[in-house]
Subunit: 148 residues, 2 copies
DNA sequence: TATATAAGTTAGACGTATCTAACATGTTTC
DNA sequence: GAAACATGTTAGATACGTCTAACTTATATA
């Protein structure tokens, strides 16, 4: 028998749903409306995949959707999207600050963002904030980064 | 049409495989051998799930496996496991350092670790290292964390 | 050593996200 | 306003990781 307690729950992975909500929110900010084709491009999936996820999200109450016409986030969907985006910004902000190029920062953040607890997120955010407020420290870190 | 390029690839999620390799490596370190039951406990999945993943990993060349007898990581499996564990340590080291409790740090890291580029990882590691080497700075960050 | 128990495996099913092919609807253009 | 085109949806299939139930093999014990 193992000496350690079980730490990890089986993964349920709601993260895909969050990806869609995030994309939908952002697209709406950028263009004022959201088309399935744009979601499809943004997330790199085919249109039918978008269709079925849209139905899924609508069923869950995150989205109002009128067949062949359009869609819009509900209050609840917007709320989730905003919190996902917040996480995204905190994390990608920190790793960008450390000199990771934007595209890498974006992609890494995509991978990370769904998995972090509030308390962890808050601390990472504070760390980023600290570095922003103390440019000398940030500079020292960045110099340290360059060494060897 | 969307104004931004496609940034995200469809997720293939090799992360589950990495979780198993990590668990197998750690269990072997702890006990000197690895049983399916321990993997099952460690990862919170049922034994048949372990069986099928074991076959999967063996087919991929990460594991030598003798039916009903036992298993052992191959060189290649060990190499992957070590790199996963390395990532794990870097990230959980950093977030522990920020005062996140151990269990949360562990779980968050599980979520994060599969998704981070080498270059990002290296920078996070360096950041952690910097904070370790400059305890005054770390102290300042932690105090900043407590404010408000 | 024979049997009971524990550990591991196979068979078969399910849910989720994805795909391609075919179809429906909406929009543009002559 | 009809035809062509673009966009969105449905149908049906696939891959993956998971599960339960039933079975097999190994180990412990009486």
């Amino acid at each position: 028998m193992s000496g350690l307690p079980r730490l990890v729950q089986p993964k349920r992975d709601i993260s895909r749903r969050e990806d869609y909500l995030e994309a939908i929110y952002n697209l709406n900010e950028e263009k004022g409306y959201v088309s399935a084709a744009d979601i499809s491009d943004r997330l790199g999936v085919k249109p039918p995949t978008v269709s079925s996820m849209v139905v899924n999200l609508a069923r869950k109450g995150y989205l109002d959707h009128e067949r062949y016409r359009g869609m819009r986030l509900t209050r609840s969907g917007e709320k989730v999207a905003k919190s996902v985006i917040k996480r995204h910004q905190v994390i990608s902000g920190l790793i960008s600050m450390l000199g990771v190029d934007d595209q890498t920062a974006y992609v890494d953040t995509e991978g990370i963002e769904h998995h972090v607890h509030q308390s962890t997120l808050r601390r990472l955010q504070k760390l980023a904030e600290y570095l922003r407020e103390n440019p000398d420290t940030l500079k020292a870190v960045l110099e340290f980064l360059e060494e060897k």
